[in-house]
Subunit: 582 residues, 2 copies
């Protein structure tokens, strides 16, 4: 037996027991005559003590232990002279009787501490060492716990976990598929799922009633920061439900997770707002409502003052930053630079300072006198001490710019704390969005999303105005989940494919089985998919989903630890009937 | 709201309540004046009643409901006149007040009954309808429950569920990999994992201590009956353990599952036998021990009687079938044909009947007198009324033939009942097996399995005799899991790769990250992987793992419902830098 206890469990109650521990050498300290070793495992750290007087040989051995050596040790639990009350095992130590080195270690490429000296690439290459750090391991412990609690909650509600296939069929809609060449059927391919969407809908047709799965999904995207080619989804579907049933069920899930993992009780229902309201007030369909600072439209109040920029703008709007009137010129210049960055693309920034003495001073004083500015302040609900920041342009472009500005100000003012959570539902998304490139409508959610009954009439006359039974769960400015009530009528589904520019043949070829399935008695159904990686990263307050994935790919889609993707043997290519193009 | 109750929950206690149900029309019966509809959902069946006298209009509507229509109905719960006590809802029915057809159905391609008239190909094509059958759905309900219980058991023991990557690296060892071409890195490929083996070992190096995952794995095999290109594994690994720790932990898991899913209490430890014993006594490393009928070696007792077949055979052995002395000549001929089939390959079958009168009669009476046969009977432990069946040849060929014969006899005599479970451990597998084709040793389990310490000396002198710390969990003649204690020393691992014919460069290229990882303090570790599909199919007493997979591939590796694998667009091929070979 390698151990009688872990390195995290010994307490005063164990004093005088002889125990065996195994673990990694975190640190050694030689005080001359006495030496101490911190022995580490997943469960904690226990101090080992060696005394030159009582056992010179062991003492010598202890001095030769290097960082990250794996050892087994036996000894007696004794009370510590100088207790370390910052760790649970800090009241005892082990008076060592034997040690065995199970495995030596070369000097690790970076320190195994919460604040390590290793950069991200190095830590990814040696991810197996990086994961020894408490911080890294804790992220995955939270992930584990969340997965268990998700299943417990859904299992209690009679959801069935069903595994859907990974080797499926490529579809042209959505992002790019990863494909898998078939060896047995020359020239054909499987595709990896971007989501189990059609399978979960088929399960509803099968009468499974309530389905869930925590499942890997795949997207062959041009990698950007914080996207992974493989990611994990909490995928759910319910039959015989309306939107309200789904919101209730999954608000319950979110509350369950906050309670179990964060001990946060949400007694109130989550706020809800429509997509239109979210865009109007936050310039964003996933607003961070940890702070107010809503966008105000002051277009009308700016007209006719000969300020060309505003007069020519379709939209003038801004935010009121409470208590920020003392922002310096330098700070305001930095903000101007911030919104002018190409990623945001504003042309400039207008500000109005509301002095604590009641004075109003703006960067456009030439055009707007204090009386005029007062009407703005009123529109913003500003009070002395506040700062108003204003952008202008087309409405479509300006709202997202204001959203970025609002988020930046929220950050600068400390309103976006990782340990505060502000969930909400965004409802009534548009069914379709116009795509300038392909010059046709695309499904905003996916082609299976049902339009609102009252808007069906507009499907051909004003497709852009049709609202969908679609909803997103948003937390702290991140979309953590989205879903919809689905179409369950083959004719409406065909109409939808038509609207999306599928010929009947294409629709039949790609989704014939689903349209067919609807001909044999399909129940009304709907569902949701939550981004598991994102949810875990929000709970862990980490910036990147890479932190909550055991073996992530880097931003180029490569696993630099195992070095993949990589070349394969010519024989393998031949078997797969493939050639690499030149 | 689509329903107030499910179709499985109404009882006498609900009488007089007005309820709303939704579901599928399982069956309609028109008695003239009264009609009845069985409304079905996942939870059960509830009878709806329509009365021509009280509501002629509704009655007419009910007559137009077709099989598998989806309807919503409201009505009052009333006591039934003629109760059906075979179903939980059989004491009540719904006196219908309104019905709404939510979705019509064409006539389904086969009947939705436990005994359906649909063949397997048809049912696979319309799997979404097949899954409406109680029997089909129940298989997946057991699968769901088993998954939850596996996680519950392991979570309670501090195992952490960690998701390992699906897009990994192709390795030449083992079965063929499915590969995924990279679009961003021309000419390179990811591979889909045959198992998360190296990742779970890396997690042990990371100090994760106890890992598990219920995970999809992939093998590009030439399909045979009951193999799937994607399958699911309960994958586990533990650090600081010896073989005994693992056996105890996972015997505990198996017992937990039998208790929770089958209400079977196993109080005794599972039997254990070595690989050598299993081969000797059962001709098979996954013996079905629901019945005894062990193989006996009678080679020596057959020598020198001028029966050339036996004299020239390296091995003569057989089984004693209790109480089967009355097997007719026709039955014995059929058995002879059975063992002579090319899949089994025996040359012939010798039998000895032990009459209830004590007489011994054999098919080789010409060579062996009754005295001689008595020595055989003694060796078999046969008694009057038994039948001895004997095969001969090389030991290597004959033992598996006897195994097949033994299993067939067990089946014929009704010893292999699906509701009886006989688990056991098979231990001490050989480390290596000789491969005639490649003319070198292959790893019997995988290249990371550790040899027994006492056999390490033989690794170069007698590799075939080296035993591994490897073990299989066997139930009813199926291997449901296998694992090993791993090598955790880089030098021993290098030696192992050398033995398996890897050059140092190949080993470095394929598994360099693992060998490297072992240089930074690797703990002793080991694990097991259980075949989840197989385990569920044993618990469900089904013949094929296809029955317990929601959307299985057929024997050709095709999903005939969604029609995959299929061709992809030329643009897609181009983006992936691929051409199809001619």
């Amino acid at each position: 037996m390698y151990r009688t206890h872990t390195c995290g469990e010994l307490r005063q109650a164990h004093i005088n027991q002889t125990v065996t521990l195994s673990g990694w050498v975190q640190r050694t300290r030689d005080l001359g005559g006495m030496s101490f070793v911190d022995l580490r495992d997943r469960y904690g750290i226990t101090q080992l003590a060696f005394n030159n007087e009582t056992n010179a040989d062991l003492y010598e051995q202890s001095r030769k232990l290097g960082r990250e050596f794996v050892i087994q040790t036996t000894g007696k639990v004794v009370e510590r002279y100088s207790k370390n009350l910052t760790i649970p095992t800090g009241e005892i130590e082990i008076l060592v009787e034997t040690i065995t080195i199970l495995s030596k270690s070369e000097t690790p490429p970076f320190t195994i501490e919460d604040e390590t000296d290793g950069g991200e690439e190095l830590r990814l290459k040696y991810r197996y060492i990086d994961l020894r750090r408490n911080a890294a391991r804790k992220h995955l412990e939270v992930r584990h716990k969340m997965a268990q609690e998700v299943r417990r909650y859904l299992d209690d509600l009679n959801f069935l976990e069903v595994e859907t296939p990974v080797l499926i069929k490529s579809t042209p809609e959505g992002a790019r598929d990863f494909v898998v060449p078939s060896r047995l059927h020359k020239g054909t391919f499987y595709a990896l799922p971007q989501s189990p969407q059609v399978f979960k809908q088929l399960l509803m047709v099968s009468g499974f009633d309530r389905y869930f799965q925590i499942v890997k999904c795949f997207r062959d995207e041009d990698f950007r920061s914080d996207r992974q080619p493989e990611f994990t989804q909490i995928d759910c579907e319910m039959a015989f439900v309306e939107q309200e049933d789904i919101l209730k069920t999954f608000e319950g899930l979110a509350k369950h997770l906050f309670k179990k993992l964060k001990d946060i009780d949400y007694t109130e229902p989550y706020p809800r707002m429509t997509f239109a309201e979210a865009m109007e007030n936050y310039g964003n369909d996933r607003p961070d409502i940890r702070f107010e600072m809503k966008i105000k439209n002051i277009t009308e109040l700016t007209r006719g003052a000969d300020f060309k920029v505003f007069d020519e703008a379709e939209f003038v709007g801004g935010i009121c930053v409470e208590g920020a009137w003392e922002y310096t010129r330098k700070q305001l210049d930095a903000l101007t630079e911030y919104v002018k960055r190409p990623q945001i693309g504003a042309k400039g920034l207008v500000y109005v300072r509301f002095g604590t003495d009641g004075s109003l001073k703006s960067s456009v004083d030439k055009f707007y006198n204090e009386e005029k500015l007062k009407t703005w302040a009123a529109a913003f609900g500003a009070k002395p001490g506040d700062l108003m920041l204003i952008l202008s342009g087309t409405k479509k472009a300006t709202l997202p710019q204001l959203s970025e500005l609002r988020l930046e100000m929220g950050k600068q003012l400390g309103f976006r704390k990782g340990d505060t959570f502000a969930p909400l539902w965004v409802l009534d998304f548009p069914l379709l969005e116009w795509n300038e490139e392909s010059h046709r409508y695309h499904a905003m959610h996916h082609p299976f999303t049902s339009p609102k009954i009252e808007d069906i009439g507009k499907m051909y006359t004003a497709p852009g105005e049709v609202r969908a039974n679609a909803y997103d769960l948003v937390v702290n400015g991140s979309e953590v989940g989205g879903g919809s009530i689905r179409i369950f009528d083959s004719n409406l589904q065909k109409q939808m494919f038509d609207l999306l520019g599928f010929t009947p043949e294409e629709a039949e070829k790609q989704f014939g089985f689903l349209i067919n399935a609807f001909r044999y008695g399909a129940p009304p159904h709907g569902g949701i998919a939550l981004g598991f990686d994102r949810l875990v990263s929000i709970f862990n307050n980490t910036d990147s989903i890479r932190d909550v994935i055991a073996f992530p790919k880097n931003n180029g889609g490569r696993d630099i630890m195992i070095e993949t993707p990589s070349e394969i043997a010519e024989d393998q290519l031949k078997e797969l009937h493939l050639l690499i193009r030149n």
